[in-house]
């Protein structure tokens, strides 16, 4: 294994996925906010809501194209850069991606054209239906992608087939109703709703501060405050926490993000702050709140939260068992009908992936030394300080946003849109949800390391047989392309915000043509 190829492949995937995920959350949330705004227009028939919907729709469009463009890369990157992964788990992992295309992305992409171009070709109700289908398609997309991702975190319903040398599905329902995937879905789309609410609230506050388009800004502010309050509560309350007791890797993730090296007597304390050290295997200067972690993560007084060292001990046992399974697979490669080897395999197959961790140190895991096994067992620990801080950054922003939307909601209900301090705060809050979301993504994916598929396939084995030069070419290429597009996108977005709800291409000499096309005067 050329570890440079592995590290570069990971870097490229991280860059392209993090970049893609800058646009997706806003699409997820803004599409539903457009549905809310347009519903008000259809129910009340008031033109201003049409203008509001079209204005946010324009910003939605600028953001949407980059989400779609960068999504094209993601759909093929498993094949281009992770071809052994694609072979090894394609039987299960490919299905949700294909269903996503068929059921969700088709819907979203087919209707989005009509959403922009159909305003004067459709009745009010029909256009609202089209907008709703875009929102539904977008959110269903997220569902299928997170079912795929959830399966990487908790690979249920599949087993290794020595005849085809890959994982194959045996219970598709288990893949569909994977509890980790469900928790991730709710958590992620709620985060998208929060992101869009912060965006709408921030831009509206900017208009209110400048005294521009205030009629539109006040109404948008109110919608965003209500939608944002509900969503920010949902993100935190229905967070990922519930899945953390399920598997060894999920337990490891929890222990790592808490910097919890040793198992404590139940219920364990929650660490507020501290300085975890990978070298000393200890968290220094820790400040702990007693009992809280045990209560949150096990929902009981007696449930134990396992510490890192105990989990490494378990990994050691599973490596020993995995080597037996690996030996059986090698025998079956030579003779498919070897009954003894098949029995040996059946007894140990759940640990096969752990033997493959040793491939980093030796070509034949059966010949691994004791030191190598010990090293492989410690490889199952993700980078604790990084996990510890990412989690705190994400959680702090999450809690802050609940308070933020609480205040916004009170202000909106009291119709107090003139609190300049809060309006300024709202403008500066705009980047925060993106920071929290990217931190959350890194937390989930770095926390799964060293696994690509938890307990099944180590990340370093999943790569394609590429050269360092090839991967550098595409990393540089994507970075340049994405970089240029990012600059253009931000400029266009800012220009569209500065311009406000004035229509493009309209007949310039006519001031008040068809309903709603004429710009609303600033109040």
């Amino acid at each position: 294994m050329d570890m440079a190829v592995v590290e570069l492949s990971r870097l490229q995937f991280a860059l392209t996925a993090l970049y893609h995920f800058l646009f997706v959350p806003l699409t997820l949330g803004l599409s539903f906010m457009l549905v809310i705004m347009e519903s008000i227009y259809v129910m009340t028939g008031r033109e201003i809501w049409r203008t509001i919907t079209r204005f946010w729709g324009k910003l939605f469009g600028i953001n949407f194209v980059l989400g779609v463009s960068t999504g094209i890369t993601m759909e093929f990157e498993f094949g281009t850069n992770w071809s052994y992964f694609a072979h090894y788990v394609g039987d299960i992992f490919g299905a949700p991606l294909a269903i996503e295309g068929l059921m969700a992305f088709f819907m979203e992409a087919t209707f989005v054209g009509l959403m922009f171009f159909g305003w004067d070709k459709l009745s009010k109700q029909a256009h609202l239906f089209v907008t709703f289908m875009v929102a539904l398609g977008t959110n269903l997309s997220a569902l299928w992608i997170l079912i795929a991702n959830g399966w990487m975190q908790h690979p249920v319903g599949a087993r290794f087939n020595p005849d085809t040398m890959r994982m194959e599905v045996h219970d598709f329902m288990a893949v569909l109703f994977n509890p980790v995937a469900q928790a991730k879905f709710v958590h992620t789309v709620s985060a998208g709703y929060v992101c869009a609410s912060v965006f709408v609230l921030g831009v509206s506050s900017y208009y209110l501060l400048r005294g521009k388009w205030t009629a539109i800004a006040k109404r948008s502010f109110t919608v965003a405050a209500a939608f944002g309050l509900a969503s920010s509560l949902s993100v935190v309350v229905l967070g990922d926490e519930s899945g953390y007791a399920l598997t060894d890797n999920q337990k490891m993730k929890l222990a790592a993000l808490e910097g919890m090296w040793h198992t404590e007597a139940a219920p364990a304390g929650l660490s507020l702050i501290g300085f975890p050290s990978m070298k000393d295997k200890e968290t220094h200067f820790e400040v702990k709140v007693p009992y809280v972690l045990g209560l949150i993560s096990t929902r009981s007084l007696t449930g134990e939260v396992t510490g890192i060292e105990d989990l490494v001990g378990r990994a050691n046992q599973r490596i020993a068992s995995g080597i037996v399974a690996y030996d059986a697979v090698e025998k079956l490669k030579v003779n498919r009908t070897d009954i003894a080897a098949r029995e040996q395999f059946e007894l140990h197959k759940q640990d096969l992936g752990y033997a493959m961790l040793l491939k980093r140190y030796t070509d034949d895991p059966r010949k691994a030394t004791l030191a190598q096994k010990e090293q492989a067992a410690w490889d199952t620990v993700p980078h604790v300080p990084v996990m510890f801080w990412l989690f705190r950054a994400m959680a702090a922003i999450g809690v802050y946003l609940i308070g933020f939307f609480g205040v916004a909601f009170v202000l909106a209900t009291m119709r107090r849109f003139d609190c300049r301090k809060f309006l300024k705060l709202a403008v500066f809050t705009i980047p925060l949800p993106w920071i929290a979301i990217e931190a959350g993504w890194m937390l989930a994916e770095l926390g799964r390391q060293p696994w690509a598929i938890d307990g099944v396939l180590p990340t370093f084995l999943g790569v394609s047989s590429l050269t360092v030069a090839q991967i550098w070419t595409t990393i540089v290429g994507f970075t340049l392309l994405y970089g240029v597009l990012a600059v253009i996108e931000v400029k266009l977005m800012l220009a569209a915000i500065r311009k406000g709800p004035i229509e493009d291409h309209g007949p310039a000499h006519v001031q008040d043509t068809r309903d709603g096309y004429a710009p609303l005067p600033a109040e």
């Binding site: 779609v68 498993f78 094949g79 068929l102 059921m103 087919t110 054209g113 085809t164 890959r166 047989s465």
Partner: protein, 382 residues
């Protein structure tokens, strides 16, 4: 629980669905690619260019999903094909993806500034987004026909032994040009039904004429190469069409001329090449006589014929290996498991009719020619 349909039949169905996906992509997104390729040549000033862009402005996005779905469906039903081809064609894939990334932003961002230099830059970006994928897809198919330099080890990990430039050889270039001609013809016939009659319409007809003739000639040259060019593969011995998906269990050898075997065995397959010729001929007649629906029908039929010809000639091969024939991927040794193929078929049967239904509805709403007047007044247009 075993699925109620045989593994062998499911593999056949998914082989056919692979064709349906490729054809669906070419018939829908094909005219977007063709239109974008023609953009700088058929439209001279900004109003003309906006007419061309808006003829596909509302629908290209849905059409592009055929490509995304193609990727997902190959992943789900033919994981070996997904893993081997995309990692093998690594840099070519990067070219295609970059070109396709330019396309959505080209559509959306071009109209955001009135500046002429800005717009001209995006016009060329759109051209690249149409031309490069059309060429590279054809080149890739050419390479699949001659065999791709990969081998699988005993863990079934794939190793690739070629370079980006190695993909471009005379036959693959011929296939690439055929693909461009087919796509440009499709784009030209789309423009002929979708925009008002006038200068742009006439220029599109001229390019369509050239593309139709080129299609016919290049398709014939391709056929000649298949016959005499020394390419082809054959399976030796018994084939276990119900067997596990492990390519290394099949005995495959290189056999020059073997791509014509199927036409002797199943004479009905000759329909593929016949349509491949008939389509462009009908399109040419349609363009010359001003029967625009005939032109579009002809170019669609041509795409169906040309793509099916490739699939039918190679059956049961999907991706033969030129350096290690025993690693070759066929319909019988590279699919997903029995259960997955069945579940994916169920999903397709349930969802594909909905997709076709609402796509048809969207086209119905947007029915009609794009006019100069509309481009100048409609505030929603790009």
């Amino acid at each position: 629980m075993a699925p109620p349909i045989d593994y062998e039949i499911l593999r056949m169905i998914w082989w056919a669905l692979l064709g349906v996906l490729l054809i669906g992509f070419t018939l829908t997104d094909g005219f977007d690619l063709g239109t974008a390729t023609l953009l700088p040549f058929v439209a001279k000033d900004d109003v003309e260019r906006r007419m061309v862009i808006n003829s596909i402005g509302a629908t290209w996005e849905g059409n592009q999903v055929w490509f995304i779905l193609g990727g997902g469906a190959i992943f789900a039903a033919w994981p070996f094909v997904y893993a081997v081809s995309f990692s093998g064609f690594y840099l070519a894939m990067f070219l295609v993806l970059s070109a396709l990334i330019l396309r959505p932003v080209g559509f959306k961002y071009r109209s955001k500034k009135p500046d002429a230099a800005w717009r001209s830059r995006w016009d060329w970006a759109l051209f690249v987004g149409g031309f490069v994928p059309a060429l590279v897809f054809g080149v890739a198919v050419g390479n699949v026909l001659t065999g791709v330099p990969f081998r699988l080890d005993s863990d079934l990990r794939s190793f690739y032994d070629g370079t980006l430039l190695g993909l471009f050889h005379p036959f693959s270039l011929l296939a690439g040009l055929l693909s461009v001609a087919m796509i440009v013809l499709h784009g030209a016939s789309w423009l002929s039904i979708k925009i008002e009659r006038g200068p742009v319409h006439d220029r599109a007809a001229r390019f369509g004429t050239i593309a139709a003739i080129a299609s016919i000639l290049l398709f014939a040259a391709g056929g000649l190469f298949i016959w005499k060019g020394g390419i082809g593969f054959r399976i030796e011995g018994l084939v276990d069409s119900f067997g596990p998906s492990n390519p290394r269990l099949t005995q495959t050898v290189a056999a020059p001329g073997a791509w014509l075997d199927n036409y002797g065995r199943y004479p009905w397959m000759i329909l593929g090449p016949i349509l491949g010729f008939l389509g462009p001929v009908l399109a040419l007649m349609g363009i010359r006589s001003g029967k625009e629906v005939l032109a579009f029908g002809g170019s669609s039929l041509g795409a169906v014929g040309i793509i099916s010809t490739v699939g039918l000639s190679m059956f049961p091969f999907i991706l033969p290996s030129s350096i290690d024939p025993i690693s070759s991927l066929t319909v019988w040794n590279s699919s997903s498991s029995h259960v997955t193929l069945f579940i994916m078929l169920l999903c397709t049967v349930i969802f594909l009719p909905f997709v076709l239904l609402y796509t048809a509805w969207v086209y119905k709403v947007l029915f009609g020619r794009i006019t100069t007047k509309e481009v100048k007044t409609n505030p929603d247009f790009y």
